[in-house]
Structure formats: structure tokens, C-alpha cells
Subunit: 197 residues, 2 copies
DNA sequence: AGACGCATTTGACGCAAATCAAAGCCGCAG
DNA sequence: CTGCGGCTTTGATTTGCGTCAAATGCGTCT
């Protein structure tokens, strides 16, 4: 199936009938508060699994940032597949463990890092993600808006923008285009990210 | 095995050779930054599984808050058990999914909630946890220190203390003892927690 | 009982990031 | 080409929470 940019294809609170696997594009996963405050819990790209809920309603929403292609399975179908292919279960457990580790890292970022550390950490993790597909380029592509980045890092768009400008002023990054970042000094940027990672 | 209060039995970065299952007591799970800043990612009580890492080093540390009793399995032993009892794998996937949902909720708290909302949310989630064991009492027991609560909520001990005092002043809770909270007005407290939950 | 040590509370002040506001920048439709 | 509407950047000001500091409470050891 396909979702054009901006389309919400999973809605927090809805009955969790389906399970998804993204085959191309990028989606934002988020939770919202009644007054509209939003926390993006992650960006889901190619290969990402979605909707592994034990509860019977989704705990998050998912929206396409870029056009997204995905496979959709009913929960019943998923259960069948899990029975037929035990290896799939092993794989899902592996994926879930990794996401859990990423979630804990993000909690550290949200709870204890400064704005500068958050943005630097974000750029580095994005760079890793990009480098996994393409080879080792210093270029990082950001398909999401500043608003998405802010809601992912627990900041405001203004703070994200100012921090990027500041990193640029310190010659750690270049910003040829708002959606394109060049890492000029990886070591220096890592030093600003406040951690071992 | 047993760990007395304060004992660290899992160390972030160490080789992830073992897998744990807590049988009694409470432990804090946390990640640290080089300069000592700490983010507690969760509190592990009876039945909690620990150390489900794909990577070969632990992504977090674990310390006993109260004396903790736990079972320890080598990773090899765990793999054997997973092969022998496929139901265990199903169970672990279930547990991991639930933790993932909890982690996302915590990201929302850390990224977007105010100090008051964080503390209120924390008390309510603790109350649920306690109510699961004992019946429905308005009493919430906090085995952890203010410092632990602060590091869990992304705040300082002073802010946690002030916020509790403020909630008490508003007659939403009572504090007979620093480690004992009485929820006087559950609905009112939920309204301060800033969410559906 | 007395006193030491540690956790917690309370108070005064400062600052990083939020908020409020306005000016670019850029892609796109006409 | 030109004007509109969006995202982004930059600037001025405010504020919630952090920091620094001191007092209070309480369990424990002698």
C-alpha cells in the first residue's frame, strides 16, 4: 500500500487491527497530548516494523513524511505467520530489543541533554542511518521539517534552528539547504553530543 | 542470587553475558553520561526481565534500591531455553512490546510535559503498579529516593520536592512520610497529569 | 538520650530555552 | 515574472526550572 506525504496511516487510540512493514519512504511516529503537544518517538524508514501491540489499540500515530510504501497484515494473519515461521518471531524479538535500546538512549537525550547536545546527537544518529544505505558521505539528508525535529528532540523549532546556526558558526557543520547538512568535523560534533556514542 | 540495597549488578558497557529475571525487590535501570548526569529509564520489580540485548554489551546499568533477588541465566543457557520452550520467546516478545509502549509514554513525558505533569503522571503510574499487587488503596509507596525520582522524570530533586509540596498544598495528595504518598483526589491528580492516561 | 550523617525541604537567584514577534527565503501557481 | 503561502531564520523578552545555599527532619550508632 501507499501513503502520500502528510497522510496519517496509523492513529493513536484506534483499534490495533493491523501490523505494518515499511518498504520505502519515511514516516514519523508520535504520541500527542489533548492540548496538541506532540512527541515524535521515532522516524520509521525502510524495513521498519510497526504496530506490534499487545494492547488492542495503537499507542502512537504514524504519518508519512515522504511518500511511504508499506505492507499491511491483519493481526490474525500475523499470528498465522508467526506460527508458520518461528524465525520471524526471533527476528521480531531482535528488532524490539534494538528499539528498546534506542528508546532508552532517547530518554537519556530528552531527560538529561542540553539543546546543543540533542541536536548534535540527532545529526550523528541520522548520519549513521544514512551511511548504512549510501557509503560514507559527510552529507546528511533530513526529510523531516524543523517542527518534526523539534518534536523529536523535545525542543521548539526556534531552538533547533538557532542551534543548527550555532553549530554552523562553529564550523562543525555546513547547511547548503535546510534539508541538507554536511558534517564538517565529525569528531568535534561528537564532542558536542555529550556522550560515548 | 541476591543483591543488597545499593548494589550494582548490571553495568552499562560491560559484556552482556547474562540475562536476569527479578523475583523480589526493586532495582533502578539507568544510563549515564561521562560527566555523571544520569537518566533512570525505569524501575524493575518482581517478574521483570533484564538484559535482552542483541549487542554484546549492556546498554544500561542496574542497581538494587531495595534488596533484590533475581535469577541469572547465561546467554547460552537463554538461547537453549528459547529453543526448548518456544512459548518463552512469545512471552518475551510480549514483554518487550509492553516495555516499548511504556518507553514511548516516558518519551512523551520527558519531551513535552511540565514538572507538575511529570510528577502527577509518576504518582498515578506508581499507584497502578502498587494496586496490581495490593488491592485498591490510595496509598503509594515510593521505595526510591527523591534523587531517583528526579533522574527518572528528567528533573532535579528540588523541583520534585517542591512539586510534591505544591500538590499537597492543593489537597491532591498527602505525604505522611517522604516514602509514602496518599492520593486524596485521583481525578484531580489525573487532570494535572496532562493526558488521557 | 545525644549527636552524627544523610535525605528532604525551603528559599533566593540565575539562566537556558520557551514564547512572542517579525523578517527572510523559496517553491509554485497564475 | 510576480505574488502568495509555507517553512525557516533571527531578534527581543519572559519564565520554568536549575543552581546554589541553608535549614529541617529522621534513622542509627554509641
Amino acid at each position: 500500500m501507499t501513503a502520500e506525504a502528510g497522510r496519517t496511516f496509523v492513529n493513536e487510540g484506534d483499534s490495533a487491527d493491523n501490523f505494518f512493514n515499511i518498504t520505502s519512504g519515511t514516516a514519523r511516529l508520535f504520541k500527542s497530548l489533548p492540548d496538541g503537544r506532540r512527541q515524535i518517538t521515532g522516524f520509521a524508514g525502510r524495513g521498519h516494523f510497526l504496530g506490534l501491540a499487545v494492547s488492542n489499540s495503537y499507542a502512537f500515530s504514524a504519518e508519512a513524511i515522504e511518500p511511504v510504501q508499506y505492507c499491511r497484515f491483519s493481526r490474525i494473519k500475523l499470528r498465522q505467520m508467526l506460527d508458520d515461521f518461528p524465525a520471524l518471531e526471533k527476528r521480531l524479538l531482535e528488532v524490539a530489543s534494538n528499539e528498546l535500546v534506542a528508546a532508552q538512549e532517547q530518554m537519556l537525550l530528552l531527560g538529561r541533554k542540553t539543546a546543543r547536545e540533542r541536536v548534535a546527537s540527532f545529526l550523528l544518529s541520522r548520519k549513521l542511518e544514512t551511511a548504512a544505505c549510501i557509503s560514507t558521505t559527510p552529507h546528511v539528508h533530513l526529510p523531516m521539517t524543523r517542527s518534526d525535529i523539534a518534536d523529536y528532540l523535545g525542543l521548539t523549532i526556534e531552538t533547533v534552528s538557532r542551534t543548527l546556526t550555532s553549530l554552523k558558526a562553529d564550523k562543525l557543520i555546513g547547511i547548503p539547504h535546510p534539508a541538507e547538512i554536511v558534517v564538517l568535523n565529525q569528531t568535534g560534533l561528537a564532542a558536542q553530543a555529550g556522550g560515548y556514542n
